[in-house]
């Protein structure tokens, strides 16, 4: 908090006067920073425009709607219709939300409201540490630990609950459920952290009023905390969704890499991000294939953009920036 190096000469007036020399530097400083900021802006704009232009060959051949909604990703015949990829992306992300959000919100509630004060710091750091594990390590762990250990349980679940929609049939090793599970673990820290902040903004009066009226702790949470923070938690979940949609490496190692629409949760699948990682190498000299992969990246970009923008709008309403 020291104020730099402005020193007062003994008995003198001030110091770094606005002498013409130092004042002259001001406009350059401001101008320099503005140029830098503009360059960053230009870079982002270039990035977007570039992607759109490179995706042209594929988008013009199949049409944007055809690319997204038709199901035929056939590299050997040079046909790139990405519906199975879009479905795979959505399915894995939805599974991630269904599994991850309740746990994340429960953890956030516990840490902020119910936890003894001494454990709060440690618990918070531990949950946040989940975000520090790199994606490739989650993939490694998923391939050699999750998949073999969960396969018997998955098969049992598939056999016992086959009357449920999307359940039943044989269990492939890598499948969309495992991918969704790993994504759930990966979005847990971000959903939990933001939910924590949202829950902290609940005014004490609301909570104390509920308690004063005789509510139990749980009822207080149910009546005062959750309704107030509901939209913020929705926003947090959507940020998690945005992260899940874009995740590549962990997913490609455990999802099975089959460009077919999964019919049940233990089927192999494929996502937009995974297809880019797997196929860019052999696509390099085929403009249609490259265009299709970039178009997949664009769809991914637009999806995450929309989700993140909506999420931010919701969260900013609840949590003062």
């Amino acid at each position: 908090m020291e104020a730099g190096s402005l020193r007062l000469p003994p008995g003198g007036r001030s110091l770094d006067e606005r002498s013409p020399a130092s004042r002259a530097a001001d406009p350059f400083f401001r101008w320099g920073l503005t140029v830098l900021a503009t360059l960053v802006l230009a870079l982002i704009a270039f990035f977007f425009i570039f992607l759109v232009s490179k995706a042209q060959p594929a988008l013009s051949k199949f049409g944007l709607l055809g690319f997204v909604f038709k199901d035929n990703w056939d590299v050997s015949r040079n046909i790139y219709e990405a519906w199975s990829l879009v479905v795979g992306t959505i399915v894995t992300s939805v599974i991630a939300l269904v599994l991850g959000v309740p746990v994340a919100v429960a953890a956030a509630l516990y840490v902020t409201e119910l936890c003894p004060a001494r454990a709060k710091g440690a618990l918070t750091i531990l949950i946040d540490l989940l975000a520090a594990v790199p994606s490739v390590v989650y993939g490694l762990w998923g391939v050699f630990v999750l998949i073999p250990h969960l396969k018997p349980a998955e098969q049992w679940f598939s056999d016992t609950f086959s009357f449920l929609p999307f359940v039943g049939g044989s269990v492939a090793g890598p499948n969309v459920f495992i991918a969704g599970l790993i994504l759930a673990i990966m979005i847990l820290p971000i959903v939990s952290a933001i939910s924590r902040e949202v829950i902290l903004t609940v005014p004490r009066d609301h909570k104390e009023a509920a308690l004063a009226l005789g509510a139990t702790r749980w009822e207080m949470l149910r009546i005062a905390v959750l309704p107030y923070s509901r939209s913020g938690i929705v926003g947090a979940s959507m940020l998690g969704l945005g992260r899940a949609i874009g995740e590549t490496i962990a997913v490609t190692l455990v999802v099975g890499n089959a460009p077919n629409v999964p019919h049940q949760i233990f089927d192999q699948g494929y996502t937009l991000a995974a297809v880019i990682a797997n196929e860019f190498g052999e696509a390099a000299n085929n403009p249609l294939h490259v265009g299709a992969l970039i178009a997949a990246g664009l769809v991914l970009f637009v999806l995450t953009l929309a989700v993140n923008a909506a999420a931010r709008a919701i969260v900013n309403r609840t949590v003062p920036a």
Binding site: V75, A172, Q268, A284
Partner: protein, 364 residues
């Protein structure tokens, strides 16, 4: 505070460094050539076939003492050719011969394909309970890989293996998810024996596999998938199968005999081959009586004029040394890994092609 003073300086240093690095990499296709300091050493980069990768990596080990560093990326034949087309590597490893569309994309000059050795594509499976060697033919294999045959005790398999107790386990089909020469070889074999396979799936480096099958990257990925899944079946090059102690099928060849993949049966596949002018041979489904039907050749693809394609003189001569070694001493190294060496007629034709490699018009 010193950090604030340093920050702009750091930024300009970083920018300068990036700028210098950018200017320095004007040498297209081989940014590694500048890193060697002696004229005798050179760094080669190649990419492609995982089928041939075990041999190339052993050759690389042996050539280190001669000052040649080889960086070979096993990314599959398709990606290898794409890299060569893009100019990010010096040579591509490709199992199938160059197709017209491949040659079209190789725009930096005339392309040369040099056959290197043969290998067996085994049909490996993971059935710990079955101790006997199983037999299979092309039509049944096509049925399995098209997921028409779903269980190991299916009558089609049982018919070929009388007296063997086959379990009722589900068959998990494992195939390549990347563009692969091994896939092309295997699907060529399947197409020869199953018209329905030929019309529905065809023979290519990358096909649209049936739903419910597992895709893995590289021969090593397929091996890993087979290893981890009981009841799995997949096509892997023999070196990988042997390394992981897989069991594999005896496959019925064109002469009607059930042949196990061995050094002898793989070599037999290369006997009496007709060699076209561009050396684009194919050993799949050889008519020889003793030949293993799913034996594949593999090539190294390079440009005829290496320097015009973007390499420096030292890298070009290093590449020639590598190829000469491979066709000479390297053949015995390949044999140790259970790859079959080239028959002498093909070997001499290959050597001729390598001897003819040029640098800016002059023979190396």
């Amino acid at each position: 505070m010193s950090i604030i003073r340093i920050a702009p300086a750091l930024a300009s240093v970083a920018a300068l460094a990036v700028g210098v690095a950018a200017c320095g990499s004007g040498d297209t296709g081989n940014s590694n050539s500048g890193s060697s300091n002696s004229s005798k050493s050179s760094t080669l980069s190649g990419a492609g076939s995982t089928f041939a990768a075990p041999v190339y990596s052993e050759w690389a080990n042996q050539l280190k003492s001669q000052g040649i560093t080889l960086n070979y990326q096993p990314v599959g034949s398709g990606a290898g050719i794409a890299s060569l087309q893009k100019g990010t590597v010096n040579f591509a490893g490709s199992d199938p011969a160059l197709a017209p569309e491949d040659k079209q994309g190789l725009t930096k000059g005339k392309a040369v394909q040099v056959p290197m050795f043969f290998g067996a594509i085994t049909l490996s499976y993971n059935l710990p309970g079955v101790k006997q060697k199983l037999k299979i033919d092309g039509a049944t294999a096509a049925g399995i890989f098209a997921t028409k045959i779903k269980k190991w005790n299916d009558p089609a398999i049982a018919k070929l293996n009388p007296g063997v107790k086959l379990p009722a386990t589900n068959i998990t089909v494992v195939h390549r998810s990347d563009s692969s020469g091994t896939t092309k070889g295997f699907t060529t074999f399947l197409s020869d024996y199953s018209p329905s396979w030929k019309s529905q799936y065809g023979a290519d480096k990358d096909i649209k596999w049936a739903a419910g099958t597992t895709g893995a990257k590289g021969n090593d990925g397929v091996a890993a998938a087979i290893k981890q899944t009981e009841g799995a079946i997949g096509y892997v090059e023999q070196a990988y199968a042997l390394q992981n102690h897989f069991t594999f099928f005896d496959v019925k060849n064109a002469a009607g005999k059930y042949i196990a993949p061995t050094l002898a049966s793989t070599t037999a596949a290369g006997d009496g081959l007709k060699v076209p002018a561009d050396l684009g041979i194919s050993t799949i489904n050889s008519p020889n009586k003793a030949a293993y039907p799913i034996a594949s050749q593999t090539f190294v693809d390079v440009y005829h004029d290496l320097c015009k394609a973007g390499m420096s003189q030292s890298v070009a001569s290093g590449l020639k040394k590598f190829l000469t070694f491979g066709l000479g001493q390297g053949q015995s190294v390949a044999k140790q890994l259970q790859f079959a060496t080239l028959p002498s007629s093909i070997q001499s034709q290959a050597m001729q092609a390598v001897d003819g490699l040029q640098c800016n018009g002059k023979t190396l």
